[in-house]
């Protein structure tokens, strides 16, 4: 058929019929708008980073180690001004969140996804965990205040020392717990049925199947979720203010690994940033200090993220 049709005339007709005749203007417009969205995002981020980096040079450029080793002061000109206490607070809060929220959250997710019966009660619980993840952080601050400071329940304030790094860490661990449960649960749900059946098929018990198939396969997903929740915890200021983070002047400056100071008065990087920005109205020097603290916080988060990404890649490689 085709060979008979392919004389010169019909070939020209076919060529003409499939020729490009119009420009896809709408497609082009759509693409341009999408590009603009990306550029706008990047531009805003760049402006933020550049101004912050520029403003921070007064502190980080001129007195780098003094700023990192310094403490909370009431005057911006004070040569002992710095973020050492804030680094101590943020670092230990992160560690406490990791130690408390991750095992409990992942454990709860394993139970909910793998063991709990599917019924109205469990879906009710799931919906509420999702709701909890959306509750404003200040509410968790109030919970921490009641639970850990005022000693209204169980007398926990004696254990945490009231307004302390420990209280801050526990409060933020409770804050991220629902996020950890939800993201881990999603990671478990993504484990292929074929893997589960394969394990059962050669005589694995439920626990062996979970330990050898579900957990390793879900590990990268869990890690991504916990990483997100950690970044959230590190950036929170409001709940920490409620559990008594110091914004003014803080005398003691514990060593970075001084466990004895965990139940003492504390501050953290977002608190310092908030407080110094507020004070910059009366004492302009605090503006550069706040910018420098922002840079420190960004580096802190970046370091944590790269560690988590490195771990995730290793898990993913293992998964194949």
């Amino acid at each position: 058929m085709i060979s008979r049709l392919s004389d010169e005339k019909s070939r020209a007709a076919i060529a003409a019929s499939i020729e490009r005749r119009r420009v896809d203007a709408r497609g082009l417009l759509f693409r341009t708008v999408l590009q603009a969205c990306l550029l706008l995002t990047l531009a805003l981020l760049a402006v933020l980073l550049i101004t912050v980096a520029f403003d921070s040079t007064d502190q980080l450029g001129a007195r780098f180690w003094d700023f990192l080793g310094g403490t909370l002061r009431s005057q911006s000109g004070d040569e002992q001004l710095g973020v050492h206490q804030a680094i101590y607070g943020s670092m230990w809060i992160a560690i406490i969140v990791a130690l408390l929220a991750f095992p409990i959250g992942i454990g709860a997710a394993v139970y909910l996804e793998e063991y709990a019966p599917r019924n109205r009660f469990t879906s009710f619980i799931e919906v509420n965990i999702r709701n909890l993840a959306g509750v404003p952080s200040i509410v968790y601050g109030l919970l921490g205040l009641a639970l850990l400071l005022n000693g209204q329940i169980f007398g926990l304030d004696r254990l945490t020392g009231g307004r302390s790094t420990l209280s801050g860490g526990i409060t933020l661990a409770i804050l991220v717990l629902p996020i950890v449960v939800i993201t881990s649960g999603e990671a478990f749900r993504a484990v292929p049925t074929a893997l589960r059946e394969g394990a059962y098929g050669v005589g694995a018990t439920k626990w062996e199947m979970i330990r050898t198939q579900v957990l390793p396969y879900a590990a990268p997903g869990i890690l991504t979720g916990t990483l997100l929740s950690m970044a959230r915890a590190i950036g929170e200021a409001a709940p920490l203010i409620l559990v008594g983070a110091v914004t003014g002047r803080l005398g003691d400056n514990p060593g970075l690994f001084d466990l004895g100071a965990l139940d003492e008065r504390f501050t953290a990087l977002p608190i310092v940033i908030t407080s110094w920005t507020q004070q910059s109205g009366r004492d302009a020097g605090f503006a550069t200090a706040a910018a420098a603290a922002i840079v420190v916080l960004l580096v802190f988060v970046l370091m944590m993220n790269s560690a988590a990404i490195g771990l995730r890649n290793r898990f993913e490689k293992k998964r194949g």
Binding site: R118, P192, A194, L195, R196, E197, G198, A199, Y200, G201, V202, G203, A204, T205, E208, T212, Q213, P216, Y217, K318, R319, G320
Partner: protein, 290 residues
């Protein structure tokens, strides 16, 4: 608790013990040893009855093929024999299935032990995201074996006709193997726990003809050691590999739009494909239906 250690118990249902074949209604396996015996098996998913009143015997050291159109419940039936349906929510099995005389659904039976004896190969090759070695050693490891794993891995891979192809890269990921190799690896993995029966759920449906031929040869080679049940959509495959064939079909009720799988006929493969007793079987195997 292993199952063959127990003396075969009589079940309250009208199922003869494995040792004494029924005289009244001679099953095709009358003079042979019987591994499985099912009697009036029904499988329900919630209120929906997926399979109705299935009764047949599975003879020892033979290959039994389950054939039939899609949705006739043959995979569902296969999964009854190693309690795989237990994993599906709301799935319920009634009737009696005995394995060497013991009721598989007795409450004293541990499904984990059942699955060690009655291995399974799935439709899509499902190697674990681990090394070739760890895939084969997985079953023995979860069973608590620590020593002699090298030997188990080698002999299982040899039986699965895969050893020559992979012995120089046992520590590579199993996911790097071709589809056919992956399926043979899954067979090796199932063999490694020393099962008595292999259940194969359309093991070649994701493979090309060459890989399929290798699996079929493999089945012939290992059938003196194992009893094999295979679900297949491919009638030529059933005719080529099996000794006995069971034909299932779907009983469609248009008034409430339900399909229930029923067993039409079981007989030697030769008879099923040349001179079946039931017209529905003949229509199916000659390609006039389904």
């Amino acid at each position: 608790m292993s199952m063959t250690d127990e003396a075969p118990r009589l079940i309250e249902r009208p199922v003869a013990a494995a040792a004494e074949p029924q005289a009244a209604e001679p099953p095709p396996a009358a003079e042979r040893d019987v591994v499985f015996r099912s009697h009036d098996v029904n499988v329900y998913y919630g209120a929906f009855r997926a399979v109705r009143d299935v009764t047949f015997d599975v003879p020892k050291n033979e290959i039994m093929a389950l054939i039939g159109p899609s949705g006739c419940g043959k995979s569902t039936v296969l999964r009854c024999y190693n309690r795989m349906n237990d994993l599906i929510k709301d799935a319920r099995v009634t009737g009696a299935i005995t394995y060497r005389g013991t009721d598989l659904y007795d409450e004293r039976v541990d499904p984990v032990e059942v699955r060690r004896r009655i291995g399974m190969v799935f439709q899509k090759p499902n190697p674990f995201p681990k090394s070739i070695y760890d895939n084969v050693a997985y079953g023995p490891r979860v069973a608590g074996q620590k020593k002699g794993l090298d030997d188990v891995v080698e002999s299982s891979l040899r039986k699965a006709a895969l050893w020559e192809e992979v012995n120089d890269r046992l520590n590579d990921s199993a996911l790097g193997l071709s589809g056919g190799q992956q399926q043979r690896l899954c067979i090796a993995r199932a063999i490694a726990v020393g099962p008595d029966v292999l259940l194969m759920d359309e093991p070649c449906s994701a493979l090309d003809p060459i890989a399929t031929a290798r699996i079929e040869d493999l089945m012939q080679e290992i059938k003196q050691d194992y009893t094999i049940m295979i679900v297949t959509h491919n009638m030529q495959q059933a005719a080529r590999v099996s000794d006995t064939t069971a034909f299932f079909t779907a009983d469609v009720r248009s008034e409430n739009d339900t399909r229930t799988g029923i067993l039409v006929e079981v007989d030697t493969t030769q008879k099923m494909f040349s001179n079946p007793a039931d017209e529905r079987t003949e229509n199916y195997v000659t390609g006039r239906f389904g």
